[in-house]
């Protein structure tokens, strides 16, 4: 048996061993597998990855002149003379990767929105589902960034191809996180696509030294792909390390992840109340009549109405709490 066949056999064996396990870890592994399967079946996104990235970089290579421009690099702490054509390839690759991954995550989250809610209401762990989505994002971003980094080396030779791929990867994580949030917040694919394209347009455009020659970076540094662009430019034209800038994408991903977690919790909340059979509860409906008197209807269990708490026959010791303003409404339901 070849090593590859042995690995495949091991994976199948491990997968089979998980089939009937329902622990958190087993649920997570299965959920990650299902996430990856969903992404792998998104044919439009796969076609964009395979064809759009090389075609887009090829167009940039063909039409952008190779003049020298000054890029305001925070890594070298000053203007960095670079080839405009090669710099355009860096921003073009970041643009392509972020759009594709943002769209993939948005589409996956939006399409599975009702399904995820059904899973959670059935008892599935929210955290497990969200971690699986993030794991799917990391895998997708790694594959797309690796491919884009490879394609870029077909057109020119960045000085640090590894750092270049890392910057593409973290830019993908940033927009993947944005896609998750938009997938939870927006209801139509058109709206999500528009938002992702608009954000990306502004993000990439104002960092382009040809469009924005100003050296001030007070606002620019707060753009989502600022860190990736800085790291990408450093990777392309210098030998300096820029891991810190590349890692800014992780900060964005964390922020989007927290927003996504809050939105996911809100969207999948279970509003019904489970009451065990033995619970000694009373469920009453209070209705105020026109004459001011109260009607108390018991749905289950006996109810003692204390009109004068000081002489309460059942010995209630709780202090009297004045009714909140809402209690003045015509009808009020109380469950206990």
């Amino acid at each position: 048996m070849s090593p590859l066949a042995a690995v495949v056999a091991d994976i199948k064996s491990y997968k089979a061993s998980l089939d009937d396990q329902t622990t958190w870890q087993a649920s997570l592994v299965k959920a990650i597998g299902f996430e990856v399967a969903q992404h792998a079946r998104n044919r439009l996104a796969l076609a964009l990855v395979v064809f759009f990235i090389p075609v887009w970089l090829g167009i940039v290579r063909a039409i952008i002149p190779s003049d020298t421009v000054e890029y305001h690099s925070r890594v070298v702490r000053g203007p960095l003379p670079v080839n405009a054509n090669e710099l355009a390839m860096v921003s073009g690759a970041i643009n392509a990767v972020t759009l594709i991954i943002g769209f993939m995550m948005f589409a996956a989250v939006r399409r599975s929105s009702a399904f995820d809610q059904r899973l959670v209401l059935a008892g599935h762990s929210r955290a497990c589902l969200l971690v699986a989505k993030l794991a799917g994002l990391v895998l997708v971003a790694a594959v797309v960034a690796g491919y884009a980094g490879f394609v870029m080396t077909l057109y020119w030779d960045p000085l640090q191809p590894g750092l270049m791929t890392l910057s593409l990867f973290t830019s993908g994580l940033t927009y993947g996180g944005l896609g998750i949030v938009l997938g939870l917040a927006l209801s139509t694919e058109l709206a999500g696509m528009f938002v992702i394209i608009m954000v990306s347009l502004v993000d990439v455009m104002v960092q382009n030294p040809i469009i924005n020659p100003a050296d001030t970076q007070a606002v620019v540094r707060f753009l989502p792909t600022y860190g990736s662009m800085q790291a990408g430019a450093a990777a392309g034209f210098t030998s300096r390390g820029a891991l810190g800038y590349a890692s800014l994408g992780l900060v964005w991903l964390t922020a989007f992840g927290l927003i996504g977690l809050a939105a996911f919790n809100r969207r999948t909340r279970d509003h019904a109340r489970h009451a065990p059979s033995a619970e000694p509860s009373a469920t009453v409906t209070l209705t105020t009549r026109a004459d001011g008197s109260l009607v108390v209807t018991s749905m289950v269990g006996p109810v003692v109405v204390c009109t004068q708490l000081a002489q309460c026959p059942s010995g209630c010791e709780a202090p009297v709490v004045p009714p909140p303003a809402r209690a003045r409404r015509t009808r009020k339901t109380a469950t206990s």
């Binding site: 299965k30 599935h124 509003h271 065990p276 339901t333």
Partner: protein, 208 residues
Amino acid sequence: MSTPDFTLRAVDLHKAFGARQVLRGVDFSLRRGEIMGIIGENGAGKTTLLRVLSGELKPDRGAVVHRDRLGYCPQRIVVNDELTVEQHLRYFQCAYRLPSLDRAQELLERLDLAGYRRTKAGVLSGGTRQKLNLVLALMHDPGVVLMDEPYQGFDWDNYLAFWSITKELRDRGQSVLVISHIAHDVERFDRLHRLRGGQVVEEAGVAT
């Protein structure tokens, strides 16, 4: 309406969407081991009621209390088009924490769905997708089953299979609430109510 032997209870449910008041004080109890039907015209609020009962939607006022595990079959078929039938079952096995898929397999066979285990939900026909929708609601043998138009798209054989499964649930002491725009075979229900004017009222002419 008040009974201590309830398995699910709706208390004074109110729900509005903007200025449109859909539910105006829904009160009813579902007893153990009964099949209850709630019918209503289009737009009466049936789906809203079931979404509130399932916990999916928050009522503006009132409460839903259930004592047993819920099974929920929504009107809109909620499956993931990119996953196979088998993957759906594995996903919900984790959600329900089931040690095996024996019950799910039994349901697949009774609903003539067993041959589609490796088929993506996205390429199934409407009726077959509805069967999967139903299996996901029943595979954990819930004490209370809430179903919204559960037999839409079923052919006659599957319609009969559906009622056979439902009757078995009732005979085992489980409870079933079916919501539909029209009640076929009213004799199959133990109780039949109508959603009218935002409230659940007893349907005239049906023994309860």
